[in-house]
């Protein structure tokens, strides 16, 4: 009647048996008690606890007989008219031994007796596992210490979104950490006096995982009490039992703030490189258009002068050389200056009064302003001063105003409005005119490039705005324009890092 262990999983069965380290151990009171209880329950004079090794049956505990081991094809059962063996089962289906009772007279067990023996067999397994120190203490400690020291937040929720576990990464305070077990985020939020929206958000994520049965991941940023932005990469995934029932959700959070800030720095560098690359291309175009043009003219003029035999013609040709050289010189100077601005990273910034600096530019343009009877109104009340290199600000004012004068409409008296506004630690200067305007749909990309002119105007050389842009960008700022043909233009300059106390 012995249930001979199946040979299908013999290797697994032997592994499971050996892990328990029970074979060839000495007498242990707990197992003897079980054998005794089995005998009492079944009213049987003989009772044994045996384990089935590879080649033998080994007796851990006996009552009513003396036996240490027998070959595996044991026929002990045949000796007794009454014999019942309850299998000792581990890992669901691995039979590693038997709890047996036997008697010298035929008998049947009541269902209660049968149940009692089955429970005792199960108790044997419990005893075996409790004997193992690793499972009992070390392994639990081992995993707990991993979970508690890992630099990751770990939380486990049951199927109803109640906390089963939270490690110190997730909740630092031990008191809170103990409190949260068995509670949900709403209860915890109330306990910690937090916005219930947080709990609502977490519930939504939990339900997403629960309903879809799939893992989700997202990034979450929060500001720490000391003002630092911390970004977490969070993941949640569902766990199911063997029948496929949803049983719990495990949540992870990894601090990726450092990676985030590196990424940000990298994209800033990329942006800067892209700008520099555009500037380089602009620069090459400038050299090509603005320097090559006059050089070609000079070469041609010289050629003609050489070939000409008429003195009057020669004189005429020489006179034409002058403006070419003049234009070459001014372009060249402009380029050199723009290179110097780009290279001069340590240019000194001063606390500049906008009105005073503007006055310098207006003084320089005194004649032009008087001639055009331009009306200039100023509102620097919101941001009366900025931190900037004096030379650059003077040049920015000069260029924007002389630009407005140069491209004023012949149909109306020029008026220029200047104002300064504070915008998130920066100062934005706007210069608005009612002049000719620029068709931005055509010239949007070209407006601040060197040598680009948009009007038939004798003074149009297209250099000023290029220089202004260079001076603004060298200090990390921005310049842009809004304009409508024949209505006027608004140039805006943003000066960055202007956290001053007004």
């Amino acid at each position: 009647m012995i249930n001979a262990p199946s040979l299908d999983n013999e290797a697994d069965r032997i592994d499971a048996l050996y892990v328990l380290e029970i074979l060839d151990t000495g007498i242990e009171q707990e197992f003897d008690n079980i054998v005794k209880l089995a005998s009492i329950i079944s009213h049987a004079p003989v009772s044994t606890l045996t384990f089935v090794d590879r080649e033998r049956i080994w007796y851990k505990s006996t009552l009513g007989i003396e036996c240490v081991q027998t070959p595996r094809d044991n026929s002990a059962a045949a000796k007794y008219p009454f014999f019942i063996a309850i299998p000792i089962v581990v890992n669901k289906n691995l039979v590693i031994g038997h709890l047996s009772v036997a008697g010298y007279e035929k008998a049947t067990l009541t269902p209660e007796q049968n149940d009692g023996l089955t429970l005792l067999a199960e108790q044997v397994v419990t005893l075996l596992q409790m004997r193992m120190p690793v499972i009992n203490n070390s392994i639990k400690e081992f995993y707990e210490s991993i979970l508690n020291n890992i630099p990751t937040d770990i939380v486990v929720f049951d199927a109803d979104h109640k906390y089963l576990f939270a490690n110190p990464g997730a909740i630092k305070n031990e008191e809170y950490r103990k409190y949260i077990i068995g509670k949900d985020d709403f209860e915890y939020g109330a306990y910690r006096n937090r916005d219930p929206k947080i709990a609502e958000g977490r519930r939504a994520r939990f339900l997403e995982v629960k309903n879809s049965g799939k893992a989700i991941g997202w990034e979450e940023s929060q500001t720490s009490p000391d003002g630092k932005v911390i970004t977490f990469l969070r993941r949640m995934f569902p766990m199911h039992d063997e029948q496929g029932n949803f049983i719990m959700v495990i949540g992870f959070g990894v601090d990726i703030s450092e990676r985030k800030s590196l990424e940000e720095k990298q994209s800033q560098i990329m942006e800067r490189l892209a700008i520099q690359n555009t500037q380089l291309i602009d620069f090459c175009n400038v050299v090509s258009h603005n320097l090559r043009g006059p050089l070609i003219n000079m070469a041609m003029l010289t050629e003609f002068i050489k070939e000409s035999e008429d003195t009057a013609e020669q004189k005429l040709l020489v006179s034409k050389l002058e403006p070419v050289i003049e234009s070459l010189k001014s372009t060249f100077n402009e380029l050199v200056e723009s290179i110097q601005i780009r290279q001069d990273n340590n240019v000194k910034s001063d606390n500049l009064n906008l009105a005073a600096c503007l006055q310098e530019a207006l003084d320089g343009l005194f004649r032009e302003i008087k001639k055009t009877r331009a009306k200039i109104s100023v509102d620097f009340e919101e941001a009366p001063a900025i931190l900037y290199p004096h030379k650059y600000l003077a040049s920015i004012f000069y260029n924007l105003i002389s630009n407005a004068i140069k491209y004023q409409s012949p149909d109306r008296r020029l008026s220029v409005n200047l104002s300064s506004k504070i915008k998130e630690g920066n100062v934005v200067l706007t210069v608005q005119d009612n002049g000719l305007g620029i068709d931005l749909s055509k010239h949007k990309d070209n407006i601040f490039k060197i040598g680009k002119v948009f009007h038939r105007h004798p003074d149009a050389k297209g250099l000023g705005l290029f220089m202004t842009k260079t001076q603004v960008e060298a200090m990390g700022g921005k310049i842009w324009v809004e304009s409508l043909p024949d209505q006027g233009s608004i140039f805006s300059v943003e000066f960055v890092n202007q956290n001053m106390n007004w």
């Binding site: 175009n285 090509s288 258009h289 090559r292 070609i296 041609m300 003029l301 680009k452 948009f454 105007h457």
Partner: protein, 129 residues
């Protein structure tokens, strides 16, 4: 009598190129437009008068008001209605490969000439006609 249009805003260059052209052939009539808009406005007016239409157009790229590319956009629409066929050359001080590549995408552009326009090149162009 051949008719040549110079569309270019550089006075001195125009002066010198006109001189070069006239040295090659005296029976050439050079008309100058200092930007694309002036040229296209004129062409619209005379498109059915073959006596006034040009044989060759030399077009600069970098000009105020309407640059060479903008001119070409309108020219492409207008050219099929001309009473007389003509050739168009871009003549630019630009040595940018990007601009040369761009000009190849426009079938009406016969060639991209890097300034200056020299005698030999002009003679070659005349012979083709």
């Amino acid at each position: 009598m051949k008719k040549v249009y110079l569309i270019d805003d550089d006075d001195i260059y125009v002066f010198l190129t006109t001189k070069t052209i006239l040295r090659v052939r005296e029976d050439v009539d050079v008309e100058v437009f200092s930007d694309g808009l002036k040229a296209i406005t004129h062409l619209k007016k005379i498109r059915d008068q073959s006596a006034l239409l040009p044989d060759v157009i030399f077009l600069d790229l970098n000009m105020p008001v309407m640059d060479g590319w903008e001119f070409l956009k309108e020219y492409e629409e207008l050219a099929p209605s001309f009473a007389k066929k003509n050739e168009l050359y871009i003549v630019s001080s630009s040595i940018s490969p990007h601009e040369m590549e761009r000009s190849k995408g426009i079938p009406l552009v016969a060639d991209f000439i890097i300034k200056p326009l020299v005698k030999e090149k002009f003679m070659e162009i005349l012979e083709k006609m």
